[in-house]
Point group: D2
Chain length 415, copies 4
């Protein structure tokens, strides 16, 4: 098992660099908004995580190549100390990309050494934390894509990350509805594998009967919402959502473009025709909620989603396919649970009954964000499938649009 | 029953004016922050509510004294139309106080006329809406006090709304803990009386065993939290809360003052010594949450609070006592549920399963605010007791501090 | 002479109150923007000025009715001490209007007593400062009107300060040009009467030949500028002016309104038809400059204006006429120098060679504002004629539009 | 003469690239504030200038390598068209540095071709504009240094642009004063060489007798100002300057640092001890003005400075010395006029009498900035000496601190 962990560590670390291969050196520092960290920063911060929570604590005699990285690449761990201001991550032209690569190699060697020490007094903690570090890096690989897309997208040159894939644009499948009985059920993680602390403890909850849509809302469906005045009708919106429409000037999903009458969409494969059958993507929670109200439906709760997903296929697809854009639904049953868009739920992100955050600074990972955010479930085209599971709780603020976030509808069961 | 309703209408309308009696004309226009509406605006808006939802719809031949009031005194009802910008309510020196009083009298006469028409085709709707208008005005009476306190409180002269009451400042009672078994229970309104739409439908929910504190956290207890570095320790705070501490510069509850080494508190009775036994008040949800974490406890969920309150005494006290400040706990059992401070819960404000907002613009009353706010339960020293009940859901944003909001602790049951 | 001064003191003090007569009590506290002080504040601050610089310094045994007024009604005199924040002047519902009137009477009595003491050791300083206090109050009387107009103007009810005057709207006079030879000349105050320190010393300056327009630019002329795309053509604007156009969204002078195809203007006499022959008013320095460039002319320098004015009629008209709006030009020669609109010059407000500010806190009156402002010359329909003279230097920031500010054109002499 | 111009063209273009030699690719995109353009942008914009004003107008058959550069690298020329938003220049990771170098080579070849066409119908205009383009590029070379210093200076790693030079830190020379009689004099450019339009026309002005300091204010002198409470005493400051002190939190010149009791200064040669004899640098106009007031002196007018400079040595020193930091004064007479710090004057930047901007978009070069800025005279350690002259008018806003700006004192002549 250690061998498998080590292999996954090596693969994950290598993949972070491989994802950067198409970049110019000039791209590594891009930060268009405070919430979009530069590629170089992701490479360094994931390394800092292994250094801080493993090498600094457990590897005797370890020395860092640069003590100032402790502050520069700390994201938000107050328990570790001061942090370089988030909006200024893009101003760190130094360390250079090469220096960050050396930092990665230095820390990787340390982890290899630590994992080789099978008799270490804290062996169990070490394995657990290496696992956490790998999952942490998977999350940042996904953020790498979402952040990069946003930052490239503000450049009028609209740079391309990857070659366009053939986009056959099939006819959209009709929507289907799947009924679930609910009742007094259990949700939350329960098993041998890895999970984050916020998926615990598994606990009882009461769920009314409900119906869940078989696939995500498509671009074509969302375009009808727009044509029907969706962005001009306050009665469709939560009050905070309507405020956001006014102050942000939203009139369409973030990457939609019109040019010479053509419906386009900026993607990591460049500016592309907007395919009718593709799921609508990069919508905020407010837009998802307004669409659902317009469609005489609602967003699912996170418990509903999890109940349904527990009956369905395992995570697959995602970033390993080499296509960095959601694809149309195909087939029967519940589709598009994991490999296309994260799915907004109506559930506010909060602690499960009996939740206990991990001890120490690691405990800042999830618990302290349990306020004002909404839970998203599933996974997206830039998620790694092996990183996902039915109980996984992603969370963002309802106005956020830079993730690959889409819409799955739900209804009360008896309708 | 109509007679009782009519009487309550008259009493409520009269009381809004009576609450204004201690004001100077100059005070009626005060708006220190966008969220604090001027007294005059409250007087006019509650009148607009009766005019818009009753007289304009149901009283044949009704004419308004001033058509422009439709926009000026619309708070947030997009279904009715445009609204005067909220931050500019304090800039409306006209209409004058006298003109607003005439507007009130004009509308009151209309309502009397409408209620006298016992054969009206929409008699049931009319009675329901008059009831809603009364409850609406009760809410604004409470806002009148919280808004006025804030706006007077920015004046270095620290004006007094009412004479000081004797403040004997007893020794604080020890805290007690009350155990509840939870289980699969029902919450939400169920009965003959009035409730808001957001208290419906009554529904099942599963609650783990829990313990609830017998009284609110006191000033003395909160001072220990501060002395223990409460406002300097990020590990005690939600991330958004810690941000608020930094950006707002919070170091104590909103109205706390130190002068020449004396611990003081601004109240509607003027600047007063800060009594140890009094509940801490005017804390944000973030401060309540941080205090709970420091105290090795947590905030209750709204379901827990409601379960406990259903077993306890009925609402009493509050604004009718003539004391506009929370008072120390006395006696056994669950104390201070209603007449002192609203109590922050950890529950995000959202729809109950199967929630349906009322039809039309009235439906904007509650449902559209179900995002990013937290539920508070109970009632405060400026609430009207007859307006409250165990199922009542109040809601504010977690950084808000201008309400009479305090802290009741909870713990998991098996601790 | 003391008698004349005393009489002018009494008249000025009485007139400030008389100007307030049309107000409702609710109007006294209005402050729509930080730069528009409430009427009550003007009444109190001018009183504070006499109290601080005369009674506190020279009247033995003087006691203030309220020590906190020292801070509340200090405008910007750091030499005196702390100041209540300017944007919060409108939040001072207390002291009430009555209390401020008592404050005025209290201080007035003190000044009478001080002036009666003909043998006072500082008699000369006292007389000088009383004179300064009177001129200071004249300035605030003018600000009373400009501030009130702005603050009433944000109320959709558009309240009226005074009854409309008959507005016959004559045909505009043709523009005339008046040639001046310039040369090595003297500017600045030189005489026995009162002047502010910034008008000193009289000094030599070299002025090229120039031509000055005989009257102000009219509404009709400015409308042509707008129709010609004036607000859409960056080449007409200073860079900072063009920024202001974009960020402020300017498309016309501040109080211009269109309603049902009718050209209107908000005035202190209510919403009125916009008379072609009236001078355009409430334009910023940037708009004045852009208009001049469009008209193939330029703004005069302050020296040019002063040279020309020295040859013309004495100040007349203004606020004593009871008309609070600029009027059309009539007659021959240089018209509209004083009683209609302040006239933007191209001169940055700075010190004359050898300028020395007055000693002490009184020295903060003018000198510290000599940065980033432009000089305006003349006087307006709400200025008091006896308060004006050819050497008077008014100054505002170039984006300011709330004064009665208009446009007089100039050209190089040889054109 | 064409040959000399061509040679200067080649030298200037080559030098811009040479100045970038010490940079990492990652540094080319840095923009820490909207006013600090990235190195890559300077390289591209200066090229755009030659392309737009010469090749696009005069070189038949010229095609640009990338039409979108027209918008991307337009700084502020509204006459040319739309501009990429200034605050987002740092987000243009593409075009890459290599692509910008190709753009430069492409345009350079075009200019060579154009200059070779000696019979071109617009030969004179072409030569004039090439000259302007060279001077324009000299200005951007200087901005390259000031912008880069600011942007590197926000990195906690404090990167070094060039190796430290030996800093012997001599004893400061005593200050000397030089008397000038003034009178009716002429200022402005008058000669055969190049000048900007804002230096014209040469014109008469009257100057009172004055004294000018022989050298710039030193670090040691400025430290005494600070120790004397300079940043805490409002009476020393213009009102706008005092506001800036409060809102910006200024307590020292921009790059001053204290570490372990040592007085340091960030320079392009890294963090260095702060030499007593060096001129104080990177102070705003407000700080310069406050220091002068504290020192019982004043800032010179631009006329005074020019009169004095006309009697003194020609420009020398500056960027060609390879030292990118101001150096101590040595020798007799007026020192440090050009090669150390730009010198704030008290003169607002405005048009000379009879000023006419150049025709077309080129006319936006200087004239449209004649509002709210102050004139600085001389030149700095990062200016090119051949680019300077006594009549040169530099201009910045009085709060600006990112230029190498220092203080030369003046006094009235008769003191």
């Amino acid at each position: 098992m250690t061998e498998a962990l080590l292999q996954r560590f090596r693969d994950t670390r290598a993949q972070s660099l491989a994802f950067c291969a198409p970049l110019a050196i000039e791209d590594y520092g891009l930060q268009a908004e405070p919430f979009t960290s530069p590629p170089k920063w992701h490479l360094a911060h994931t390394t800092w995580f292994f250094e801080t929570f493993l090498l600094q604590e457990y590897l005797e005699g370890y020395t860092t190549p640069e003590p100032r990285y402790t502050v520069l690449f700390n994201s938000y761990y107050n328990g570790i100390g001061e942090q370089h201001p988030r909006p200024q991550r893009g101003l760190l032209s130094r360390p250079t990309v090469d220096e960050v690569r050396h930092y990665r190699a230095h820390v990787d060697a340390g982890i290899e050494q630590l994992l080789a020490d099978t008799g270490h007094a804290h062996r169990t903690d070490i394995l657990t934390r290496v696992h956490l570090g790998i999952e942490h890096e998977c999350q940042h690989q996904e953020l790498f894509f979402t952040d990069l897309k946003w930052s490239l997208g503000v450049n009028p040159m609209l740079p391309t990350y990857a070659e366009p894939t053939t986009n056959e644009s099939p006819v959209p499948m009709p929507q289907s509805w799947h009924i679930f009985n609910g009742g007094l059920v259990e949700t939350g993680f329960d098993g041998d594998g890895f999970c984050f602390d916020n998926e615990l403890p598994r606990h009882q909850t009461f769920v009314e009967p409900f119906a869940l849509a078989g696939r995500l809302v498509t671009n074509a469906e969302f375009a009808i919402f727009i044509d029907d005045g969706g962005y001009q009708r306050p009665e469709l919106w939560l009050a905070d959502g309507w405020d956001a429409v006014q102050t942000q000037g939203w009139t369409a999903p973030h990457y939609w473009r019109e040019r010479d009458g053509q419906a386009l969409e900026y993607t990591l494969h460049g500016l592309q025709p907007r395919a009718d059958a593709n799921p609508v993507c990069h919508v905020s929670g407010y837009e998802a909620d307004a669409y659902a109200r317009w469609a005489n439906a609602r967003l699912p709760t996170e418990h509903e989603w999890e109940l349904a997903a527990a009956t369905a296929v395992s995570p697959a697809g995602g970033v390993d396919t080499g296509c960095y854009h959601p694809q149309p639904a195909e087939g029967e049953g519940l589709q598009q649970l994991y490999g296309d868009c994260w799915q907004w739920t109506q559930s506010a992100y909060g602690p499960y009954p009996g939740f206990r955050p991990s001890a120490g600074a690691i405990g800042e990972y999830n618990g302290k964000f349990m306020s004002s955010q909404w839970v998203l479930r599933g996974g997206s085209c830039v998620s790694k499938a092996e990183h996902l599971r039915p109980t996984y709780r992603n969370f963002f603020y309802p106005p956020d649009r830079w993730q690959f976030s889409g819409i799955r509808l739900a209804k009360d069961g008896q309708q």
